[in-house]
Amino acid sequence: MLELTDSSLLTAAVSPPEFAIETRGLTKQFDHHVAVNSIDLKISPGEVYGLIGPNGAGKTTLIRMLAAAEEPTTGEIYIHGERLLRDRQNATIKRYLGYLPDDYPLYEDLTVWDYLDYYARLYELRDPKRTQRLYEVLDLVQLTYKRNSPITELSRGMKQRLGLARTIVHEPILLLLDEPVSGLDPIARRQFREVIQTLQEAGMTILISSHVLSDLAELCTSIGIVELGCLVESTSLESLYRRLSHQQILIKFSDGLERLTDLLSRTPYVEGWTPSSDRRSLTVDFSGRVEDCTALLRSIILADIPISEFHRTQESLEDIFLKLGHQQVS
């Protein structure tokens, strides 16, 4: 075991920073309970990585360790190739990171502006860049009009967005968001999602844990599933859908069932079909990509089959999560 660790350390010394986050054997033990169990996580720069798993699976502990808020029992963490060592100041790595926990403590005695100004100064931003940056983040989180308001006057959604503004005020390159939309109403959730999408477009690497899987499906490029402290799945969202999501196409038509079934039998990725009782519609089991689906539609039209509806459905992330045997989403 020691030899293995030795060799991994040798590679660590020379490995280029190809990953925004890389962990090796990351473990956290509380008394005899292993909260995070030897996780090897790799997230490339620019990815939006969604972390899902039941309550108590170890997501928050994992994120806290990545944010340097919790000390690992054993294992290594590399942020953009730099080793995170708990007993060091880690000033450079801390500038890379922006961490928003599920609770977002704020200073109630300060105004929105003073709060952000304080954090900008803590991250050593100097004027005029500091003022400019403050206006940028306020604009991004749509709180410019509230900049002189005391924090106590903000709604929950506004406070959450202010928390996000604090997280990004120093222009981190890696965002760690733990349950960022929990407890928000649909409008506040949408606003928050829009901000995340803007940050994603700006090239920020984002690790986000959430129980709202529909949000993750919309935001993420990759997904990791954590269960009992282990990372049981870590893959791109596309690959996850391809492997595990069952896809169906509903075709409604007025005439030509035989011609349609004949065409389907010759079409790749069609795995079977089920006609309706009135023989006016078919449910097709399909395993191809979106382009293959388009090709099928085109061939049906070219075959002059009178279709009135062509609808592709796919199992959602939540369905996949449940199908994998996870009983509890939230």
Binding site: L2, L9, F30, D31, A68, R86, D87, L122, R147
Partner: protein, 553 residues
């Protein structure tokens, strides 16, 4: 507040102080600015200034009321504040009005005001700092500070400067009156300056200690104030004694039979030398608390100091007392008995402190026991050498402190023995050897108590500290009381005192027998060994893997 362009600015609460000044402060120390922004509100400012002026006014009227009455029928013949003729009779002027001793009145006023200002400064500051830190920890904002690139030094400095800002303002507002009364009392402004330097250092020491208490998890600010009150009284008393020492004590070193030296430093040369000595050692105390604060800020689960730091700390404390003990006093051996007792109690206190400072939390010890072989290898990237378990026990962060404390006790024991040997000229007959025997027994007791302390600190008990107090009471306080109640004095029952009372034989150095010393040394060392073995076993059990735990079931 946001700049005015391109957006409208907020109504300002701190405009008179000046945005540019605040900006400069914020660039130097963001935490200081944040605390100022929280404090600098018109309401707070007027409250601090108003209360300060009110207190000054009340004190003035109180002292004014203490002056002798000048109305003819009520004029006293004896009074505290009247000029006297040498027989405590008041003097009167040509109009028959009593002559007031304004010098004495001013001195008393100045001393009372000074003591009041230190008390307000320290207690007010301690309360606010603990309350502020506890609030930050409870709300969770403290964790965010830890995640910024700011060092703990800057955060704590900002808090110490900013959190008690209103207390500083109230004290600052009383300075003119204090200066005026000091001058009226016939004292110089230089003395007032020395007083304030000392007061500020005392305040910084208390503030750092308050922050440390808060870092360790205390939320009760009033508890900090209570403890500080108890500690502040002796500190202020020492400060006033330093000022009260008559000038005749200082200077003229050549014509003295006894000179107050520390190593070769003549502390009795001048008041400034004596005060500087106190400043330096208070500064050293502040330095060590500051080190602990920095460590706890980086990692709230860390020990207060590293093992390496405690080696330096113990060495410093040893240098401190040796400086006073290595003096060529022309005195007989009997004067050294209290010194032996002092050394035993001094190092017992250090032993207890070392255990409290160096004992990692149970979780850290468990992690160390379970994973130290892995983490020692991971440390390769830092030190490029695989750390042996012995080295880890001597300098490791999470390892149990048993070996590190034992090494320090051994080293200090050797220093004490060397001191006895160096002072051999003052020991009559074989008493030097007996003194060495007594020291060995005392250090064996410390080793045993250290083992017991580690056991208790390691237990998964909420009332660990109460249990420690109970154990130390049972082991250190009850035996001498029982022997005293049984009318067995040290001289009459020296063997019993040697065997069962900590440093019990120091006051019966002529009566103590080699058998009793050997017996006490043996049973205490054997108990220390047994406790250490049990402690080692319990750590091994704690560090077992789950698989092994299941197999053993």
């Amino acid at each position: 507040m946001p700049p005015s362009s391109p957006h409208p600015s907020a109504p300002s609460t701190v405009e008179p102080i000046g945005d540019r000044l605040l900006n400069a402060i914020g660039n130097l120390n963001p935490q200081f600015l944040r605390e100022l922004k929280g404090q600098l509100k018109p309401r707070n400012l007027s409250l601090a200034l108003g209360l300060s002026l009110l207190a000054q006014g009340l004190l003035y009227f109180m002292f004014q009321a203490g002056l002798p009455p000048t109305d003819q029928p009520f004029q006293p013949t004896h009074h505290t504040y009247c000029l006297t003729d040498g027989h405590y009779n008041c003097l009167f002027d040509a109009d028959g009005v009593v002559k007031v001793d304004w010098n004495y009145w001013g001195t008393n006023f100045s001393h009372t005001l000074g003591a009041g200002l230190i008390t307000i400064l320290v207690l007010g500051g301690v309360y606010q700092l603990i309350a502020n830190y506890a609030k930050e920890r409870q709300t969770g904002t403290l964790d965010f500070l830890r995640l910024t690139p700011q060092s703990g030094d800057r955060i704590f400095l900002g808090k110490i400067l900013g959190v008690p800002a209103m207390v500083y303002l109230a004290v600052f507002a009383a300075l003119p009156l204090h200066a005026y009364m000091t001058l009226m009392g016939g004292s110089s402004l230089l003395n007032l300056g020395l007083f304030y330097v000392s007061a500020i250092e005392i305040a910084v020491l208390f503030f750092c200690a308050a922050m440390l208490i808060a870092c360790l998890g205390t939320n009760q600010a009033w508890l900090g104030v209570l403890v500080s009150s108890a500690m502040l009284y002796p500190a202020v008393a020492v400060l006033y004694v330093l000022f009260a020492i008559p000038e005749e004590f200082f200077g003229d070193l050549a014509n003295r039979s006894t000179i107050f030296l520390w190593w070769i430093v003549p502390l009795s040369q001048s008041r400034l030398a004596l005060m500087s000595f106190c400043w330096v050692w208070t500064g050293i105390g502040i330095y060590w608390i500051w080190q602990a604060l920095g460590r706890l800020f980086r990692n709230s689960k860390a020990t207060l100091l590293s093992k390496t730091q405690t080696y330096w700390l113990t060495a410093e404390l040893t240098v401190f007392w040796l400086g006073f003990a290595m003096q060529p006093f022309s005195v007989g051996w009997s004067d050294w008995e209290p010194m032996l007792y002092f050394m035993s109690v001094f190092y017992l206190t250090i032993t207890i402190a070392l255990n409290l400072i160096l004992m990692p939390p149970r979780q850290s010890v468990q992690d160390w026991a379970r994973y130290h072989h892995v983490n020692a290898a991971e440390g390769l990237s830092e030190s490029e050498t695989r750390r042996s378990i012995w080295l880890d026990l001597l300098i490791g962060e999470k390892s149990p402190p048993t070996l590190a404390i034992a090494v320090q006790l051994l080293a200090t024991c050797l220093v004490c023995i060397a001191w006895v040997i160096a002072m051999h000229g003052y020991w009559a007959g074989n008493l030097g050897w007996t003194a060495i025997g007594i020291l060995l027994v005392s250090f064996a007791s410390m080793l045993m108590l250290s083992g017991l302390l580690q056991h208790i600190l390691h237990w998964k008990l909420k009332q660990r500290h109460a249990l420690i107090l109970a154990c130390f009471f049972a082991l250190l306080v009850i035996p001498p009381i029982l022997l005293g109640v049984a009318d067995l004095s040290v001289k009459a029952a020296t063997d019993l005192w040697t065997l069962f009372v900590f440093a019990g034989s120091t006051f019966a150095i002529e009566q103590v027998t080699l058998t009793a010393l050997l017996g006490a040394f043996t049973w205490q060392l054997a108990t220390a060994g047994l406790l250490t073995y049990r402690f080692k076993r319990s750590i091994e059990v704690l560090g077992r893997s789950e698989v092994r735990r299941l197999i053993e079931r």
